[in-house]
């Protein structure tokens, strides 16, 4: 067998074996990965809508809205994801909202890569709790109606702006005072 044929055959066998191993690992892990993602999503929806025990996912225009329901099936509020550009990359936020009152229920930071010890503090209760009860009519201007984390104005602004942008879209879909 000449050496080129051997090279090609060896490379092909290795590639095929690699493909088989990868496909197999993917088959094994994929259900768990999907399940983890779903659980994480549900967990965060239930966190930002107090009183909700299960969720329903619906598509409204270009937004995906999660409706939080309690045990009796009463609608407790809605939630949606907001994305902003932080200091080191995207920040994803889950926002709970009560369209009847027109105010925020709670927020949770889903993912971010801000600087540890500074921007990463946006994840902490001290920062996120200030959004509770905020009206959709407020400006969400940092250092005015939103308290910025000292040394991390960019991260704080990114969160405030991301919430405001998505909230404005949601208010158009669910006008304040209207039904859920």
């Amino acid at each position: 067998m000449n050496q080129y044929a051997r090279m090609i055959i060896v490379l092909m066998i290795i590639s095929i074996a690699s493909g088989a191993v990868l496909a197999l690992s993917y088959e094994i892990t994929n259900p768990t990965i999907q399940e983890q993602a779903r659980q994480k999503l549900e967990q965060s929806v239930l966190t930002v809508i107090p009183g909700a025990t299960k969720m329903e996912e619906i598509q409204k225009e270009d937004m995906i809205v999660y409706i939080g329901l309690d045990d009796e099936g009463n609608k407790k509020g809605i939630s949606f994801e907001a994305t902003g550009s932080g200091f080191n990359g995207p920040i994803e936020i889950m926002v709970g909202y009560n369209p009847i009152e027109g105010n925020l229920l709670a927020i949770e930071i889903l993912s971010m890569s801000e600087t540890p010890g500074l921007g990463a503090k946006i994840k902490e209760e001290a920062f996120t709790s200030q959004f509770k009860g905020k009206s959709s009519e407020e400006e969400f201007a940092v250092k005015e109606d939103v308290q910025a984390i000292s040394g991390a104005t960019i991260s704080s602004t990114a969160v405030a702006n991301a919430i405001k942008t998505s909230l404005d879209k949601i208010v158009k879909i669910y006008p304040v005072g209207g039904d859920l």
């Binding site: 290795i14 990868l22 890569s113 540890p116």
Partner: protein
């Protein structure tokens, strides 16, 4: 005993981080908390050991002209396996380690051991060497991350160890802290060994 020698080699004499100074990207980037250090170390040890075993087994089969592409495919495959399993079973850690799990594929330690050692010796020696190198890497980055976590957050493995009066030195978990802690540790180990590493082994 050659095998024991091969194993111990990576732990101290040719420790990839402190003595050979290779594969430092992840050692600097993920070492903000001790847990991350251990997780990253074990992930790398897995890829390194599996790749070394396979490269050693195939050393007489792979033609030398295409050996590098073959090694790359082998390493990339095991990296993806770790990537998928971590995503499925340790999602919180996976998120913190970020792109540094997929970046194991270009970690100098893995390719260097495959090329310089595993492709020349039998499976037993290749395994011993890979385990030694992997664990040498693991203890090194766990030490770095413990120091950084202790100084920067006052905790160890997430438990508060510093008293209330301790003000965290945040710089330690920021990028400059990584470089400085690393530099001081390399210097200390040079002193203990009474032999200074003059240059890094990877360019």
């Amino acid at each position: 005993m050659q095998i024991i020698k091969d194993f111990v080699n990576g732990l101290w004499n040719e420790n990839p981080i402190f003595r050979m100074v290779i594969g430092i990207c992840s050692a600097l980037a993920v070492t903000t908390a001790a847990n991350n250090g251990i997780a990253m170390g074990l992930a790398l040890t897995f890829v390194l050991t599996c790749s070394s075993i396979l490269v050693s087994l195939l050393r007489n089969v792979i033609p030398s002209k295409v050996r590098i592409p073959c090694y790359i495919i082998v390493v990339a495959t095991f990296t993806t396996v770790v990537d998928l399993f971590m995503k499925a079973y340790f999602p919180a850690l996976y998120e913190v380690l970020g792109i540094f799990i997929p970046l194991i594929v270009v970690n100098c330690i893995v390719l260097a051991r495959a090329e310089a050692f595993a492709s020349k010796v039998g499976v037993a020696r290749a395994t011993a060497d890979a385990l030694g190198m992997g664990l040498g890497y693991t203890w090194a980055i766990t030490l770095i991350s413990m120091i950084r976590e202790l100084l920067g957050a006052g905790t160890l493995f997430g438990y508060q160890v510093m008293g209330d009066g301790f003000t965290p030195w945040i710089s330690a978990i920021l990028p400059p802290g990584a470089f400085i802690v690393m530099g001081i540790l390399v210097g200390l180990i040079n002193m203990i060994n009474r032999k200074t590493v003059k240059d890094t082994d990877c360019h």
